[in-house]
Structure formats: C-alpha cells, structure tokens
C-alpha cells in the first residue's frame, strides 16, 4: 500500500478514529480519577491501620490477577448491562493497585529522621501526616497514578468487547475480519495515547514541583507551568467533548435529525458472519421501517450477546439453533434441524420472552477441516478417517469450541479423536494458523469463505455428531409487539441465504477485505430487497 492510499484510508476513518480516541480517553481518564479518589485514601488508611494492610492489599492484588476479559464478563453479568459502566468499573479496579500500593510505599518511605523532627517540634499526629508525610510521599503517589493511567490505556482496548467503544473497537473488528490495517488503526493510536498520557502526567508533576533557585531555565518554568498543568485536563476534556458530541457516527447523527423516532438496537458477536448478518438486518430495517438502527456489533461472544438481549441492552441479534440449544439452554444435542428449532423457539419464548424468526437458510455448523493437500495425500474424507492420525496432529480450535459439549469434548467421545496438541485461537487467526501450517486441523465454520480460498477441505460428519446451526434473528417480544412490521420485514430474509451465498458474503469481507456495508448493500440489491 502506498503512502497516498494509506493517508486516504486514515482520512476516511478519521471521524471514527476521533470518536474512538475520545471514548478511550474518557474511559482511561474517568477510571484513573476514580481510582485516585479511592486508592489514595485507601493507601493512607492502611498506612495508619497496619492490620488492614494484609487483607486490603491482598484483595486488590487478587483483583489485579483476574484476566481482563474475565473481569469484564463478570461485571457484565453482575451489572446486567453492557457498555461503559462495567468497563469503567473494571478499569478502576485495575488502577487501584498501583495507586494504593504507591501511596502506602510513599508514606512508608519518608525518612524516619524527618518524621522525628516533625514530631519533635510539636506537630500533632494528623499534622505530621498532612504537612509532612503526605507531601513527601506525593512523588511516589504520582508515579503510581502515572503507571495506572498508562496501563489503563492498554487495558481499555479490551472494553470494546462489551460494547464500551474505545480504540479497541478497531482492534476487535480487525481481529474479527483478519484485517491488519484495522488492527493497526486501533493499536497505533492506543500506543501513541499511552505515550501522551505518560507525558502529560509527567508534565503535570513537573509543573507542580516548586521552582528552585538552581533551576537555570527559571523563566521557562513560569512560562510553561500553566500549559503543563492543563495537559491532562485537556486530554480528559477531549474525551468528554467527543463523547458528548458523539455522533455514533451514522445512526446517532440521524437520531438527532429524526428526533422522536424509535430506536432498535442490533447486536452481533465478534466474527465476520455475525457482522454481516447484523448489517443485513440493520440495512433492511433502515430501508423498510421508520425505526432508527443502532449497531452494537462486535460483542465478545455468545453469552455476552445473550445477556445483553435479556437485559434489554440490545433488541435483536442473529443466533444459531445449535448454539442456543447447547450453550444457552444447556440441552443435549438434537440432530434434527426442525426439532431443534422448534424446541429452541418454544423454550426461548417461555423462558426469556424472546422470539425466533424464520432462519436465513444456511447451516453454519462446525466442520472439522484439514488442508486439501493433507486430505488427498492421506485419503481423508470423513472425520472418522482421522482416528489413527489424531495423536500426531495439532488442532487449532476457538476457545468456545474447545469447551462446548457439542465441540471438542463431544468429538473426543463420539469419534475417539485425541489430538496431539490443542491450541486456542481467535476465530479468524485459526484460519491463518492452518494455512500457515501452524496447525493441521481446525473447527471451521461451514459457511466460511476461507475454506475455499485457503484450499481447505471440510470432513464429512459421518457419525452425525454436529448439531444443526441454522441462524435466525432472535428478537425481544416486547419490541415485536410494539412494531409488528419489524417481524414482517425480518421474515423476508427467511430462507434467502444458503450455504454458498453465505460463504460468498463471508469471503467478500474476509478474503477481499471489502467493507461490510457495501457488500451487504450489493447483496440486498441483488435480492431485490431494498
């Protein structure tokens, strides 16, 4: 890619980049501030009350060891909402340790000699603390805040998983679409942001330090002090401004123009097919109804989407019958597609007040997939052919597949396949892994465009193990009642996308790196649905 194209690419994304950067600053800034308000008093408290140190530092130390994603998902379940709130809380909890720890260390490290002087000249205990100990610990505390903020910029990229926005959104989307440019569009600004945050807090500290006679560039300091003090404030302000002028780019802008119109919020999981299905439903609803569509795409997995739907954070998303059956309803596998759909829609209606609409048509079941060359060389056609070879093969599975009863655990049972090694992958990286011979077997999705493009062969499920995975819109009944037309519009998609069609759409995005909105529009036009 030449420089002009690169500049054009960035320029084209600039409005969104601005928005995401703002969200990112907001997340990092607010959580760091909150952690300061909690962490510094906490550090002072445990300095004063020694026996509290063990329990409190132990507790926030443990918080620190919780993997960020696990923490986000846990808070999501606890708060029953997606978006900024659980992300802010998670970031605050992470920022607590460096701040509280540095406060404690800073207070402890003040020289005993100076404290003895403070006591000896006749300061009360709280005067010793406020006039001497805390001011002398300030540098160390500030260093803790700086660490917290810089680390926070990094962790905040994960907030996009639960719909909190930020630069992680580009990274997520880039990962979902195996699009390096998008990943870098998030990662590079995040790295720059981390440096800026580091610099601005450093400048703030510098400006707060009293001016000394021996400072040669005295005038520089008096001149630069105010701007330096303003730097972190400015960063947070940028965050607030971009958030409150938040156009949410397309839909929000419309929302302000079409004040009073109702909103439907569409969710999606974080892989290409889900993004395409989400976009198809979104464009169709935009074209055929008065409703305003908010796209809350890229949520980090089935449980997050389902949770968001149940809690009314989103109104609909496309789910697969097999996933609903086993992962959500914890039901045993059903191999008959009609029975599975019937059971799922009945149970969803009863338990969740959610309605399954007509399936799109394709069956995106798992397909144990190998390289075409390996298959023809070893004469592999069906999954059971792998039995003899399994312990010499490396498998690359998504984390979800590795754990689900209708995934690897079931394969082991039904086909007695015990692979030599199993590696966990992000869905899109899994295909790169098999293509680059990092792994020999993957759990591809039957509709993935890369099966054909990467010269892979799905093996036949000769023991009929995999349940059917027909995708269909799942929608809150409340919304459906309020807008009956929505059901009609979405039902027009029923049976209109077969396996080949879905593979094609997936490949247009994954393989050809085309924009989803454009691919979807083309598709809907070709079906004469717009």
């Amino acid at each position: 890619m030449n420089i002009d194209a690169l500049i054009a690419y960035v320029l084209q994304r600039l409005p969104e980049l601005w928005l995401r950067t703002g969200e990112h600053l907001m997340l990092t800034g607010c959580s760091t501030l909150a952690a300061m308000f909690i962490g510094i008093p906490l550090g002072i408290l445990i300095y004063q009350i020694k026996w509290l140190r063990g329990p409190i530092m132990g507790f926030i130390g443990i918080l620190q060891t919780i993997p960020s994603l696990a923490m986000l998902v846990f808070l999501l379940a606890l708060l029953k909402q997606i978006g900024a709130m659980p992300a802010l809380i998670a970031l605050t909890l992470y920022a607590l340790l460096p701040i509280a720890r540095n406060t404690l260390t800073g207070l402890e490290e003040v020289s005993a000699e100076i404290m003895e002087a403070a006591e000896g000249i006749g300061m009360h205990e709280y005067q010793q603390l406020m006039m001497v100990r805390i001011p002398l610990a300030a540098q160390v505390i500030a260093a803790g805040i700086r660490t917290a903020a810089v680390v926070g910029v990094g962790i905040a990229t994960l907030s996009a998983f639960i719909g909190a926005g930020g630069l992680g959104q580009f990274i997520n989307r880039g990962l979902a679409l195996a699009n390096t440019k998008l990943i870098l569009l998030g990662a590079i600004p995040a790295a720059i942001l981390a440096l800026m945050v580091d610099f601005s807090i450093g400048a703030f500290e510098w400006a707060l330090r009293p001016e000394r006679k021996k400072d040669k560039k005295r005038s520089t300091k008096s001149f630069m002090r105010l701007p330096a003090l303003m730097l972190p404030v400015a960063l947070i302000l940028v965050g607030i401004v971009t958030n409150f002028t938040k156009p949410d780019w397309i839909s929000g802008l419309q929302a302000s123009m079409d004040y009073g119109r109702e909103v439907v919020r569409i969710g999606s999981k974080n892989f290409t097919e889900q993004l395409i299905l989400g976009e198809i439903m979104a464009q169709l609803i935009e074209a055929k109804t008065d409703l305003i569509v908010q796209r809350r795409f890229n949520l980090g997995g089935t449980m997050i989407c389902h949770g968001a739907l149940i809690n009314g954070e989103i109104d609909l998303y496309a789910e697969y019958t097999g996933t609903a059956l086993t992962a959500i309803l914890k039901h045993a596998v059903m191999t008959n597609p009609e029975k599975a759909l019937h059971y799922v829609s009945k149970t969803y209606h009863r338990r969740f007040d959610l309605q399954w609409l007509k399936p799109f048509g394709f069956n995106n079941t798992y397909a144990i997939t190998v390289r075409k060359a390996d298959a023809s060389q070893n004469n592999w056609n069906k999954i059971s052919d792998l039995e003899k070879y399994a312990n010499t093969l490396i498998a690359g599975f998504t984390a979800e597949f590795a754990e689900r009863p209708d995934g690897y655990p079931g394969i082991r049972r039904i086909y007695r396949l015990h692979f030599g090694e199993v590696l966990d992958f992000d869905p899109s990286l899994m295909y790169e892994a098999i293509r680059n011979k990092k792994v020999d077997v993957i759990c591809a999705f039957a509709t993935d465009g890369r099966i054909a493009a990467y010269q892979l062969t799905p093996l036949k499920d000769d023991r009929k193990f995999f349940p059917p995975y027909y995708a269909a819109p799942v929608i809150r009944e409340e919304l459906l009642k309020a807008h009956p037309k929505l059901g009609d519009v979405l039902s027009r998609l029923g049976g209109r996308i077969d396996d080949a069609e879905m593979q094609h759409l997936n490949f247009e995005v994954d393989g050809k790196k085309r924009r989803i909105a454009e691919v979807v529009q083309e598709f809907l036009k070709s079906k004469e649905m717009l």
């Binding site: 002087a117 000896g120 000394r212």
Partner: protein, 247 residues
C-alpha cells in the same frame, strides 16, 4: 530549669541500659554540655526531655513540672530542638521551615514574617537571598543554621541541641561554635548541648556532664573536671596520649 532524677532507659527489657541512673540538673540560662562517645546515651537523654522517648524509670522535670504531666505536643512547642541529622523538611522553603512552630502556634502572618527576618539575620542567612530557597540548595553549614533558627523560632525558654555541628568540616564548625557562643550570651536560654568533641564541650559549656555507657561519670565546670577528675575514666580523657578529637 531541667532536672533529671535517677532516670533509666532500656530498649531491650532490662538486659542493657541506654541511660543508667542519670541524675542532673540544668539551671536557668545555663548551657550544659553532655559529653560522651557515640552510643553512650546522649541522644536518648535529650529525647526523654521532650518526650520523644519515655523513660523506663525516674523523673524528668521541666520548669519544675514532671514532663509526663505536660501535654506532649505543647511541651515540645516550648522546647527548641536541633536534631542530630538536622531534619529540615525538604518540601518546604527555608522560610516555611523556620516559621513552622509559630505557624503551629497560630501566630499571625505578620509576626511570623518579622520573626523570620530577625532569625535568619541572627543565624547569618539574610532573608532576601535565602528565605525562598529549599534545604537542598544550601550547604551543610547553612542547613545547620536553619536548624538552629527553626528551634529558636517560637522563642522557647529551652534549647536542646544534638551534635549540631558534628557533620561539618572543621573550619565551618569553628565558625558556628563562635557564633553560638555569641548567640547564647545574647539569648539567655537554658541549653542542653550534646557533643562527642572534648574541645567543643570545653568551649561552649558552662558546665559539662561526662557520660559513659549510659551513666554519669562527672558533672561540673571545666575547672572542676580538669583539676578534680572524679573517676579514672575522666582522668584518661585528658591524658596527653589521647588524640584531641576524642571519640
């Protein structure tokens, strides 16, 4: 007046004594020098006077009242203390360091300002060029002068000085000793001055108390000690074999 009666201090539950059966008194306006080698209990004795350390046994009186009957904070504010390691507050300017006790006592800004000028003049650091500096912008000798100014700030009747010139080079030390001599004649304070330097003790003390291993060997004027050493230890102190700066 400061009076110690049979004071003991142990840090290890009685196995050894940092201060052992110490009785002495410091008269009003007098300078008493506590002389002794490192570890003999000089600092411990001073700290017990302003209650940074509580004695294990015995009675300490200041102005005729047991120190334990004072509120510790108000007692300390009546006693100027020059610490062995100076202990200036590094985040405060010289001016803020000097005015700290008056500020704690609630003096008005104006009287504090006047006092700072006066004191910095007294210790030879003109406010104009020193008031706004920080301690680490001063030489060791200048810092020590600030330490003295801080101790004098609220005009206390008592002054405790713990090896104030110990860490300085010989030349600076001698200058400061001379200045303190002038100062103490001017100020009429009751001073307890701690040193391990025999020469310094002879120069500054109206009377000298010689400590050894926590106990008192002899207390008296220079003449008493030179002419009538009470113990062999004191006698040895002045024998010509000893180097002058006896440690």
């Amino acid at each position: 007046m400061i009076k110690l009666t049979r004071v003991f201090k142990t840090f290890d539950g009685g196995r050894s004594y940092a201060v052992k059966d110490l009785s002495l008194n410091v008269d009003r306006g007098e300078t008493l020098v506590l002389l002794g080698s490192s570890g003999c209990g000089k600092t411990t004795t001073l700290k017990m006077v302003n209650r940074l350390i509580e004695p294990t046994k015995g009675i300490i009186e200041v102005s005729g009242k047991n120190v334990l009957d004072y509120n510790a904070v108000s007692l300390r504010r009546q006693i100027g203390y020059v610490f062995q390691g100076i202990g200036l507050f590094p985040h405060m300017t010289i001016e803020q360091n000097v005015e700290i006790v008056p500020r704690l006592l609630g003096w008005s800004t104006r009287s504090r300002r006047e006092r700072i000028e006066e004191l910095l003049d007294l210790v030879g650091l003109p406010a104009g060029s020193f008031a706004q500096r920080f301690p680490d912008e001063l030489s060791g000798g200048q810092q020590q002068r600030v330490g003295v100014a801080r101790a004098l700030a609220a005009n206390p009747a008592y002054l405790l000085m713990d090896e104030p010139f110990g860490a300085l080079d010989a030349l600076t030390r001698e200058t400061l000793q001379q200045e303190l001599l002038t100062l103490k004649n001017q100020l009429e304070k009751t001073i307890v001055f701690v040193t391990h330097d025999l020469h310094e003790a002879m120069l500054l003390g109206d009377r000298i108390a010689i400590l050894h291993d926590g106990g008192l060997e002899q207390i008296g004027t220079k003449e008493d000690i030179l002419n009538r050493p009470a113990t062999q230890f004191v006698k040895d102190l002045f024998s010509i074999k000893r180097p002058r700066a006896w440690m």
